[in-house]
Amino acid sequence: MATHFVIDGLKAEIEGKEILKGINLEIKGGEIHAIMGPNGTGKSTLASALMGHPKYEVTEGTATMDGEDLLEMEVDERARAGLFLAMQYPSEIPGVTNSDFLRSAINARREEGSEISLIRFIRQMEGKMKELEMNPEFAHRYLNEGFSGGEKKRNEILQMMLLDPKIVVLDEIDSGLDIDALRIVANGVNAMRSEDRGFLIITHYQRLLNYITPDFVHVMMQGRIVKSGGPELAQRLENEGYDWVKEELGIVDETVGQS
């Protein structure tokens, strides 16, 4: 069965402040959706709420993966159900090597007794690291500790490649990347495009979309998706900015939950 991911009427708040005011979105396997919008409009909250960050509380709505409501699940269950979030600010975990972490994550998806063999794991990891032009030394470094911004982002993509998720959410994966790193990350994403996998790319720049062509582009303001279109919408936003959207919709302040 092809992946079918549906967000329906999602509302979420942080510390009592409502940030998401009813998000509706449908992603099918094979599709790439981009969510664009200025800062402070709720884009990253959407990513965090879907993954289940403890600071965000979902107050209404559902997010179903092939009919199962992810929002009813614990964070790790959502991941095992096939959701992957490449984070804007990945945590640093001192003392845990990247390779130990990756192996634990892979084995968390396998039955006890059928863990991935060390040799097979290393072969896979090294192969993907090579695709991402990562220094092999990063396998033995402590997870994200002392990684530059770009190295962290590549490491997020490495995890995506090894974990083979059904729905990938990329939260500002392009921030802090130079043009070479951007190309490498984009190549990694493109290599993962498949009929079984859907992508949700959150960004406020169009430049990533020069490398990854989306099927659908959505504009988020005030905690809602206010406009949707095809790749041409991203192009127009790049050329003209967001003001025309605000004018068209009569929005004065596009942000949400700012005090």
């Binding site: 403890p54 790790d76 959502r78 991941a79 095992r80 003392g95």
Partner: protein
């Protein structure tokens, strides 16, 4: 057959026991004096821990050990601690050594590695020069009591210029709470020698349930240009009180490296100190500990700098569970005249329970201007952002926390150069963290 030592602080019985064991007269005298001191002196007073509330009287009675005919006689849990195929091994069970082995190659180089009681008889003059010179018998009730009743133990002597590649190992265990268990470890490394010594001090937990006390002393003498690596893992039972003083005297350009795993289940007083007498002497101390249940611990690391350009580094990392409490002291003392000395220390505590307690007390005492020194201390809980991140990759909450806890200890564990010790430490850590 066992000889009773009813009152450990009694001069006559201490001397009588020593004579009955056939100890040399200088040692009989030392024990007698120490027994008398033990009656007069007060217990040591570590910061914020009232050890006099612990059960300190259960020192037990001397039980004459029966030598083991082969290592196969060791209980399984104990045998698993022995590095595979090692020839260089001392095993103490309760009050005395039951096994001692040294390879002919090392013996031919003049290395001595045996239990300390045997060494007092066979190498009396040599032992006498060092025994109770780094830790004095009259410091407090603990050192006096220990001097009066110590048994078994280890003596390691490495002659000048001899480099011992393989680690020498001791396993010291108790499996009878009524028997006194008070090993003394004495290590002498002559000029430009090199040696690694590792030990495990453990209780056969199935066999011991009543209170016991393990008063223990370690003395290390690192002569000029020598390198001594000392690794020790303590895993005594919950009914036990472990009181261990470790001290090294480090001469010119010599180096001492301590790796201590305080993984007892019972109350623990652990004090590890390097006295850097010599110019260019260096010391490195790494301590890890896990506290659980209602365990109380006082963990102290100390570096005392006398030598010019001496250098010390101390790291303590502790994980506290349940209602365990640990007072962690780091004391860097730089004496007047120790110019260009450098002393650095870090104490970190990870709290896994709201009822656990961990205090980190870094103390710098500096009587010289031309020095560098630094300290860092932190007490914290498992970071929920880190747990979220790991869980977002499908790792269960329990496994995520486990990874973070092991990660917290990893910078110390991964530094352990002796593989056998690292493996043992990991095993015991797992036992304690998962238990």
């Amino acid at each position: 057959m066992s000889t009773q030592l009813t009152t450990p602080t009694d001069r006559n019985s201490a001397e009588e026991l020593a004579r009955s064991k056939g100890e040399p007269e200088w040692l009989v005298k030392l024990r007698g004096e120490a027994a008398e001191l033990a009656g007069e002196l007060a217990w040591p007073k570590p910061e914020k821990v009232r050890i006099e509330r612990w059960n300190l009287t259960a020192v037990g009675s001397y039980a004459k050990p029966a030598p083991a005919a082969s290592l196969a006689e060791l209980p399984e849990d104990i045998a698993s601690l022995v590095a595979e195929g090692t020839e260089n091994l001392v095993v103490q069970r309760n009050s005395g050594a039951i096994w001692r082995g040294l390879s002919p190659e090392l013996a031919a180089q003049g290395v001595i590695f045996t239990d300390l009681e045997t060494a007092c008889t066979e190498h009396g003059e040599l032992v006498q020069q060092y025994l109770f010179q780094a830790v004095k018998k009259d410091e407090d009730k603990l050192t006096a009591l220990h001097a009066a009743i110590w048994n078994g133990g280890v003596f390691l002597y490495v002659p000048k210029n001899v480099e011992v590649e393989l680690p020498l190992q001791a396993v010291l265990y108790n499996d009878a709470e009524a028997a006194s268990f008070a090993p003394h470890i004495l290590i002498v490394a002559e000029s430009n020698s090199r040696v690694t010594y590792v030990d495990c001090v453990v209780t056969d937990k199935a066999a011991v349930s009543s209170p016991f006390v393990h008063p223990s002393v370690v003395e290390v003498f690192a002569k000029s240009g020598s390198l001594v690596r000392f690794g020790s893992i303590h895993s005594l039972g919950s009914a036990g009180v472990d009181m261990t003083f470790r001290r090294a005297v480090v001469e010119n350009d010599a180096r001492v490296e301590w790796i201590i795993g305080d993984l007892n289940d019972g109350n623990t007083l652990s004090d590890t100190k390097s006295i850097m007498k010599g110019q260019g002497s260096t010391s490195d101390v790494k301590v890890i500990s896990v506290g659980n249940n209602a365990q109380q611990m006082s963990l102290t690391t100390q570096a005392v700098h006398f030598g010019k350009s001496s250098d010390s580094n101390m790291i303590t990392r502790a994980v506290m569970k349940d209602s365990a409490s640990a007072i962690i002291n780091g004391i860097t003392k730089i004496e007047h005249g120790a110019t260009k000395a450098n002393g650095v220390q870090t104490e970190k505590v990870l709290m896994l329970s709201p009822k656990a307690r961990g205090d980190a007390n870094p103390i710098l005492l500096i009587d010289e201007d031309d020095v560098t020194a630094g300290h860092a201390a932190s007490v914290g809980q498992v970071n929920p952002e880190q747990v979220y991140y790991l869980r977002s990759r499908g790792i269960s909450k329990q496994d995520a926390e486990r990874l973070i806890i092991y990660g917290f200890l990893a910078p110390v564990v991964s530094e352990i150069s002796v593989e056998a010790v690292r493996t043992q430490l990991q095993q015991l850590l797992e036992r304690k963290l998962e238990g």
